[in-house]
Subunit: 333 residues, 2 copies
C-alpha cells in the first residue's frame, strides 16, 4: 500500500510509493521509449491495459476493442489505490495516512503520433467531458478530497509514454498548491468582497496587453507574474469554482480556446514539451464565492526548475506582455 507522508515543517503531503519500490540500481537504467508497435494506448492493444472505465466509441463496437475515439482506464501502476480504509497515524512527530485514492489515464486518441492540438474541437470537447464525467463519479467517494487533472506532453515534461494522454489523480488530501490558492483567494475576498480571479478577468480584458485569446465564455492570458516563458492561463469569464459544473456549451468553447492556445504556443516556440493542470475547487465543496477554476499551461523552455525546487523562486526571462503579443500575432495553420 502506498503511503502519504506529511512534511512536518510546511505541511506538504508526499506520496511514498512503496509498491513501485524503485531500488537505487533502477535509476541507472534509462527508461525505455515505448515505440508505436508495443504501445498499450494504441488501437488493437486494448488487452494490454486495464478494462476501460469510460470510452467514446460507436455503439456497435465492444468495450476494450478498437473503434474508440478516447478511453479512460485505471493506471496499471497507480500512485494511489481505491481499495482499503483511510487510516491516519503518527510516527513520533511525523504524520502519515494510507495511500487511498485513484489514478486514471485518459487516452486522448487512438493514434500514436498525434498531439492534443491536432484534434478537431469536438474531439477535444469529448476529452474535457470525460474529465467532467470522471470527476462527477469520483466525488461520490467521500474519502476523496481532491481530483487533480493534468497532462504531461513530451519526455522532458515528464511523460513516460509518448502516446498523448491526460491523468486524473484523486487524493484524500488537498494538494498544497490548491490550498495556497484557496487561502490567498479567500484573503483577497475577505478584504475586497470580490473574487480575485474575476478581477483578473476584468483587468486583462480591458488592458489587453497580456490577453492571448478571448471568446464568449473564456479568456486565455499570459499571467502578470508568469513563472515560465509562454505560460498561459485559461479562465472562465463567469464566476464558477468547480470545473465539473461546466455545461457542454462551456466545454465546446473551452475546447476551441485550448486548441488555439496550444497551436499558437506550438507555432511560436517549435512544439515545446508542456504541462497542463486544472485547478478547481476541492471535490466535496462547491459554490465557493472566492475561488474560480482555471487551467494552467506551462511550456518547458527553461531548465531552471532545479533552483525553483528549493526556493520557490522563479526567474522568467521573457515578460508576459512580450510573449502574449507574439502569441497573438503568430501565424497558425
Amino acid at each position: 500500500m502506498p503511503e502519504l507522508r506529511k512534511d512536518p515543517i510546511i505541511g506538504r503531503w508526499v506520496i511514498i510509493s512503496t509498491e513501485r519500490g524503485k531500488r537505487p540500481v533502477d535509476y541507472e537504467i534509462p527508461a525505455p521509449v515505448v515505440s508505436q508497435g508495443s504501445c498499450p494506448f494504441c488501437y488493437g492493444q486494448e488487452h494490454l491495459t486495464t478494462p476501460e472505465i469510460l470510452a467514446v466509441r460507436p455503439p456497435d463496437t465492444a468495450p476494450n476493442s478498437p473503434g474508440w475515439q478516447l478511453r479512460v482506464i485505471a493506471n496499471k501502476y497507480p500512485a494511489l489505490r481505491v481499495e482499503g480504509e483511510l487510516e491516519k497515524s503518527g510516527e513520533g512527530l511525523y504524520d502519515k495516512m494510507s495511500g487511498i485514492g485513484a489514478h486514471e489515464i485518459i487516452v486522448e486518441m487512438p493514434e500514436h503520433n498525434r498531439f492534443l492540438s491536432d484534434l478537431d474541437t469536438p474531439h477535444i470537447q469529448n476529452i474535457l467531458s470525460s474529465y467532467v464525467s470522471r470527476m462527477q463519479d469520483l466525488k461520490r467517494d467521500a474519502r476523496l478530497k481532491y481530483l487533480m487533472v493534468f497532462k504531461n506532453q513530451g519526455y522532458r515534461a515528464g511523460a513516460s509514454l509518448e502516446h498523448s494522454h491526460s491523468q486524473l489523480i484523486a487524493t484524500p488530501i488537498i494538494p498544497k498548491s490548491i490550498n495556497e490558492e484557496l487561502a490567498g483567494a479567500r484573503e483577497y475576498y475577505d478584504y475586497k468582497e470580490r473574487c480575485v480571479f474575476c478581477d483578473i478577468v476584468k483587468q486583462e480584458t480591458v488592458d489587453r496587453r497580456r490577453l492571448v485569446l478571448e471568446n464568449e465564455n473564456f479568456i486565455s492570458i499570459a499571467p502578470f507574474a508568469a513563472r515560465f516563458p509562454f505560460e498561459c492561463w485559461l479562465l472562465p469569464k463567469k464566476h464558477e469554482s468547480n470545473f465539473e459544473n461546466s455545461t457542454p456549451a462551456d466545454l465546446a468553447l473551452l475546447a476551441a480556446m485550448l486548441k488555439e492556445t496550444l497551436l499558437r504556443i506550438k507555432a511560436s516556440v517549435n512544439n515545446p514539451p508542456y504541462n497542463l493542470v486544472l485547478h478547481t475547487a476541492p471535490c466535496q465543496i462547491s459554490g465557493l464565492q472566492h475561488f474560480h477554476w482555471h487551467m494552467e499551461i506551462m511550456p518547458r523552455l527553461t531548465r531552471v526548475a532545479g533552483f525553483e525546487r528549493g526556493t520557490g523562486f522563479y526567474i522568467n526571462p521573457t515578460p508576459p506582455e512580450e510573449y502574449a503579443r507574439f502569441l497573438r500575432e503568430v501565424q497558425i495553420g
Copy 2:
C-alpha cells in the same frame, strides 16, 4: 531594470528579467556548451569575468590572475541589480517592485572537470566560509531581505556552465518557500514550545532508519516526507537560525559531512545531477527560536518535476528508509 512581480492569488514573487529579454525565437537555439578552452571560470580566463569580490589565493598573486583556489564574482548577467532605488508600485490589482538585489557566483575551483565532492575538506570549508563572508557583507544592505545560496550541478539540474560553481542571489523579498518554512515552524513552536527541526534531529538520531551520517555537530538524513529519491538534508544538531553565524569549527565539520554525503549519493546512483540549497533565516533577523538553518540536496533522478509544478504534489518511488540504508552501506573511494 529587472522587475519583481507578485502573483495576486498566492503571493509568490517572480523575477521578470526584462533586460536579458529573451525573444521567442531565442528558445529554438540550444544553449552552447562552454568547453574547457573558452570557459570564463578556468585558470587564465579571469579577464572574461567581472572583477573578483573575494578570492582565496596566495598573498603573492594579483587579483584577477591565476593562482586562486576559489573566486567570488558578480554575475555578468544578473537576475537582480544592486544599483537603484527599491520602488514599489501597483498596476491595477497587481503589485510589483524594482529588481534590486545582487547575484554573485562562487567559482569553487580552478579546474574545469572536477566536482565539489572531489575537493578535500579544507577546500570545501573555504567555499562554505565564502558563503558566510558574502552573507555577512550583503546583510549590511537593509534593502535586502533574503540571501539565497544554491548550486545547480549538471546540465539537467539547470547549470548553464559546467565548471563547478555556486550562486548567491540577494532579494528584497523573502522567497515563498522560506516564508512557508518560517510560518510552519512558528506554528509548531507556538503549539509545542519546541523547534520542529530540533525535534527532527532528536527523533532521527534515536530512530536511525533515515540517518545517513552523523558527526559531532551535524546530521545528514533522508527526510521523512522526501520529495525525491536520494534527497538528503544536513542539519546542525545545536539550534541556530542563521547559517552565517557558523564558526570555522562548524564549517569544517559541515564540509566533511557535505563531501561524504555527496560522495555516497554519487556512488549510489552514478553521479546524478543535483541541486543544493541553503535554507537560513532572513538576513535582517537573527536568533529565531523556531527556525533552524539546514541544507537540502536534491538529486535529479526522476522527471516528474512537470506535474509538481502545477500541483505542489510529489510522488517519490523510493522510501527514504530504503535509500538511507543504501547510502549508509555503499562503498566509497
